[in-house]
């Protein structure tokens, strides 16, 4: 077999094996859900880290995303004398797409990478082995609390991002396009259906689970010391970005 083909095959095999491991890890984490009560302290700690550790960045990103959306949409709409509809476009974009996806990207960069680095360091410094020797299931002790925490954190932060984004859009609509707040928010409310809000939160939940599972999976499979931890962290972020977009499409396709 030519060397190029062999490399491609090797990459595919490794990637499929990694995806299989990640899926089985998610299954194992779900299997540990009955231990939620015993692990509530760790779940709350992880939730706190994810939400409050990301709050400032999500605020800035949400504010400017809403403002940019309002500005770009407003420029086009004003050509047709429809700038009063800017609230409709901003709120629909934020709640359906931008809110969950931007939140997920931020969490993948901030929290998913931290999970991969943390668990990777634990793997290469034999802390995971130590847990196993003490008959402490690493999935119950480390993975399940992180997956559950991010599955909750992502929808919470998405609501925050949606609100700030729509509010940022309102400021631009008022100051640059002359659309008053009442009109802006009326249009924003009119366009949103329960399905949009529920769909956005469902996406956020799926993204949270995806980011945490990939982060933990990459960390647990880290090897070769500090270099391996760095590689695992990089892979956790890149893979999370890719899977966020894939699942975003799939959930949107199912819902609309």
């Amino acid at each position: 077999m030519p060397e190029g083909s062999s490399r491609v095959l090797d990459w595919v095999c490794r990637h499929c094996g990694g995806a299989g491991y990640t899926l089985s890890l998610l299954g194992a984490a779900v299997g540990q859900l009955p231990a939620v009560a015993r692990k509530r302290g760790e779940i709350v700690r992880q939730l706190d880290r994810a939400v409050f550790g990301s709050l400032f960045v999500t605020f800035i990103v949400a504010l400017f995303t809403g403002m940019i959306l309002a500005l770009q949409a407003g420029i086009e709409l004003s050509r047709w004398g429809q700038e009063s509809s800017v609230g409709l476009l901003v709120s629909a974009s934020m709640v359906r797409e931008m809110g969950p996806v931007m939140t997920a990207f931020i969490l993948a960069g901030l929290v998913g990478s931290t999970m991969a680095a943390e668990l990777g360091t634990m793997r290469v410094s034999e802390e995971i082995d130590a847990l196993q020797v003490m008959s402490i299931n690493p999935v119950r002790y480390l993975v399940m609390p992180r997956v559950l925490a991010l599955a909750l954190a992502c929808p919470i932060l998405t609501v925050f991002v949606d609100v700030i984004g729509v509010a940022g859009g309102a400021v631009v609509a008022r100051s640059l396009l002359g659309v008053d707040y009442q009109t802006y928010f009326d249009k924003a409310r009119d366009v949103l259906a329960v399905r949009d809000i529920a769909g956005g939160l469902l996406k956020a939940f799926v993204f949270g689970v995806t980011i945490a599972t990939i982060g933990c999976s990459q960390g647990l499979r880290a090897e070769n010391g500090a270099e391996g931890v760095g590689q695992a962290t990089m892979r956790a972020v890149v893979m999370a970005f890719v899977y966020i977009l894939i699942f975003d499409y799939l959930v949107a396709w199912m819902l609309y």
Binding site: T121, S125, E126, E127, D129, A130, V133, M134, S135, N137
Partner: protein, 241 residues
Amino acid sequence: MIELDRVVKTLGGKTVLDGLSLTVREGETLVILGGSGTGKSVMLKHMVGLMKPDAGRVRVAGEDISDYTERELEPVRRRYGYCFQGAALLNSLSVFENVALPLREHEDLDREELGARVREVLRLVGLEDAEQKMPAVLSGGMRKRAGLARAIVRRPQIVLYDEPTAGLDPVISRTIDELILDLRDRLKVTSVVVTHDIASAFRVGTRLAMLHRGRIHLEGPPELFRTTHDALVRQFVDGGR
């Protein structure tokens, strides 16, 4: 107590254990000698099921654990305490919490009982004043002692030591050796010590075995290692003096 029967293990294309056979007897302190990269730690990990042999069998108290799942290994591991080379303390937990961890996870103790059990072993290893310290601020010797405290807090029957004196100065090394002897005498544990520190091996071992090219090259009482004319062993023993 532990039996490795013709164990073969290949890692990264290199055969690390090549048909290794070894028996650990109840109550003894068996020291495994060998140079760096000869598979001493790999052998230790087979004893506790952290690694599975590619061929051969591993038995603990007559039970074949070679193909056991993690769940099946739990009662087997209950017999063990394991001191990792770098201590493997959880960096997010204090010394007290590290030592308390196996008790919290497996034993239904109230706050006072748990505190008493943890402080008892911390006193045994001389770390009673360091219980609130985080692993990051501990010296190498203190980390090893904290790791040892965690390994023995559930009163195991067998303690495995992976390079317990590696990277420590001679005074601290001697302290660790004395701890190993003290634990053997007080708790009557069976010990397996992996080391390339020959002075430490003679201090703590009731039986020595030398690992070379994935097999046991020589095993016997410390006296045999002092008097043998085997070139490989002589080079190792004399090089350590």
